[in-house]
Subunit: 425 residues, 2 copies
């Protein structure tokens, strides 16, 4: 049968991985499918560059998006523009599109999915979440019989690497960030990773796929890891916990919680053991119960694995009308669900209060007990960490509004300088 001609947009880390994996696994991949994928052309900004796979490079995007010879376009440049324009042009020209661009899908996925449907072509983005872990296929197809109520995961490798290093070495955030940058695990501008924005993009895609809603980035509650100190880690480790940056999407009768933030996990929790640049995702479905998946969340060939899996699926299925829809639910059956406000987030909570040198921790702890009594919230534990001048609390399950009230009242206690809270799963 005739080959399937692919146009690549970009030739960075992931795109090079696509070329590498298609080359090294060509024999195994060809055994699976009736059409062999061939990289027909690659759009790059400059022709003056390494080209180890001897690909046909072009600096004209029309050679990809308007090229009648090309069947499938793979966008791997990231960011909103010009990627958005390129993808729209390709879809409008009747080409199926594969992308690893989580930001673009989280923010513009709804219009792109609609356009793809109008044009009767595929839009696939497995590589946009959790690298090589086929989490979208799992939610969309593998668990399709379930009503899913929870997706919770470590979905940003940079944050997880930094938190893991902070935990293992006891060093502070700034130092770990610098090391991560030196090792290539964090970008020169690490804002998207350490502020939780990248994880929020991915959680947007996970939530829509799990619950069958339109993509909804706007309502996401986002916190990063840049507020976590070496002291937070030392104290919570002593209490038997690991701090992980989690994305959590949870559905209840009231609506959905969409949130990305540092979280305390008991050391025995499966997600607590997902270290370094690994990703891990925990899913609860009402037929299968709890499932857990982990694997490399980034990297050239791991991410390429997801891109090529999408390509193989497009070759197999051939017609997007005879394929699972991109979010697992028919476009016309996607249903918005109200997003719950931050103050209603319900979980256990860890609170830490810094006090002045001249005050005793015991007196602070006593005063905090009175505040809790007034709030009607029970602490599972109150403990003084003299060496850090901190009193810490673990609150039983409650809503965040109560926690904020407790902190507001606690800040009136003489001698308390500072406070923070971290949610506990």
């Amino acid at each position: 049968m005739e080959p399937l001609k692919v146009g690549l947009i970009g030739l960075g880390t992931v795109a090079s991985g696509v070329a590498a994996v298609l080359t090294k696994n060509s024999r195994e991949i060809t055994r699976r499918i009736t059409r062999t994928p061939i990289i027909e052309k690659v759009f790059v900004r400059s022709l003056e560059r390494d080209n180890p796979y001897n690909l046909d490079l072009t600096t004209s995007i029309a050679d990809i998006t308007d090229n009648p010879d090309i069947d499938v376009v793979i966008e791997l440049i990231g960011g909103i523009e010009p990627a958005l324009t390129y993808i729209k042009t390709a879809l409008n020209n009747g080409k199926s599109v594969i992308t690893a661009n989580k930001e673009l899908i989280a923010l513009h996925g709804n219009e792109l999915l609609q356009l793809a449907q109008e044009k009767g072509v595929f839009l696939r983005f497995e590589a946009s979440v959790a690298g090589g872990l086929p989490i979208l296929k799992l939610l969309r197809e593998g668990l399709a019989a379930n009503e899913i109520d929870t997706v919770m995961g470590i979905i940003n490798g940079t944050s997880n690497y930094i938190l893991t290093e902070m935990s293992h070495k006891g060093v502070n955030f700034d130092q770990c960030l610098k090391e991560a940058q030196a090792h290539g695990y964090a970008e020169a501008d690490p804002t998207f990773d350490i502020k939780g924005i990248d994880a929020a993009h991915k959680l947007t895609i996970l939530a829509a796929t799990a619950f069958g809603t339109p993509l909804n980035f706007e309502d996401m509650h986002i916190e990063g890891i840049d507020t976590i100190t070496a002291e937070d880690i030392a104290i919570t480790q002593a209490e038997g916990y690991t701090i992980k940056h989690l994305g959590i999407a949870r559905k209840s009768k009231q609506g959905i919680e969409l949130r990305v933030h540092p979280t305390l996990l008991a050391k025995e929790h499966q997600l607590a053991q997902v270290d370094g640049v690994l990703n891990g995702v925990y899913v609860v479905g009402n037929a299968v119960g709890e499932q857990f998946y982990s694997g490399r969340g980034a990297g050239s060939e791991a991410t390429a694995s997801a891109v090529i899996a999408d390509l193989i699926e497009i070759i197999h299925n051939n017609d997007c009308r005879h394929s699972a829809p991109a979010l697992g639910f028919l476009e016309e059956n996607l249903q918005s669900i109200p997003t719950l406000p931050t103050k209603s987030f319900s979980s256990r909570y860890y609170l830490a209060f810094n006090y002045l040198n001249e005050i005793t921790g015991e007196s602070i702890a006593e005063a905090l007990k009175t505040v809790l009594l007034e709030a009607g919230v029970t602490a599972e534990k109150i403990k003084v960490y003299d060496q850090y001048q901190q009193v810490i609390l673990f609150l039983e399950k409650t809503v965040q509004e109560n926690v904020e009230n407790i902190i507001n009242n606690a800040m009136l206690i003489k001698g308390i300088e500072d406070s923070k809270f971290i949610r506990v799963e």
Copy 2:
């Protein structure tokens, strides 16, 4: 659009789960697909039975397999006959078939897959391995870009439940088996589970899907958990290990190892933490690296989740020629790979030698060192467990032939009564 009419063969635990999940999740499932699945008829041995979902029961198999109204047949009675005949009849009559029957697929899958292909219909069996964990879809589609070299997993919940109970409570095998039977976690005749045969059926399916080979049960090396004693568990726990019953399929340039046996895992290993009736599978692909998945390996609704996922896929894809092949590779491209003999299995090994009361463990250990020296194999550790009258060894990575020679020579040492070895991963 017209509904998709399903005929169920059997109305046991899993079939009841299929009816339950299709009922309770009908709204969510209907949002995914263009045709609504309806259970048209159910084949049972006797009409005198509970029928909580008010299904249309029949005692005539022709009402299912020869019924022109039925589009998809779901076989859930297990065993070889009459399931084999029923499925062949259904396929011959142009019906797609879904089954959870691992024994049947492991032993007769090759001919059934060929028949399904000839007839142009689907044959799907996600529920045959690891219950609700979509491990076949993962291997077949999610990781399709990879050359996979290792699949290793806990794929028999009964064995894992018994080993977990033995580890936690320190009791012996017979007592745990009786408790498992009392709790419904082991069958009245537990042979298939405790002798490793059920795991071997599942590994046969996993290996064919991972490597793109025909199903090959005949060459499987099979050991069960019935040789594991409370003492084995106590000693290896003291050494930092957990005993798990694993299925291992591993490909190298020489061929494939297909083996099912008790295995020592360091306590920190992800699979060591898969407890009770859970299943866990670890996969290594040459693009994604290591991935790990866990979830419920059995149970009515968890297994039904996999059956219905297959059904939803059939509805989406509509035509089996425009779908991933059942084993992930085109039928005509399946390739046999030589299976390596047991004596060439390469791993670290744990050896335990029981000695007579009147002999000292130290003298046995000294004699064993001489045996090792002659064999040219290095022990990472030799240790005397006086209280159990055992000397234990951990051997560095070697082939099983060497281990068997060492044991043969060790058995000539005066005072050694008995020996065993367990592979270490």
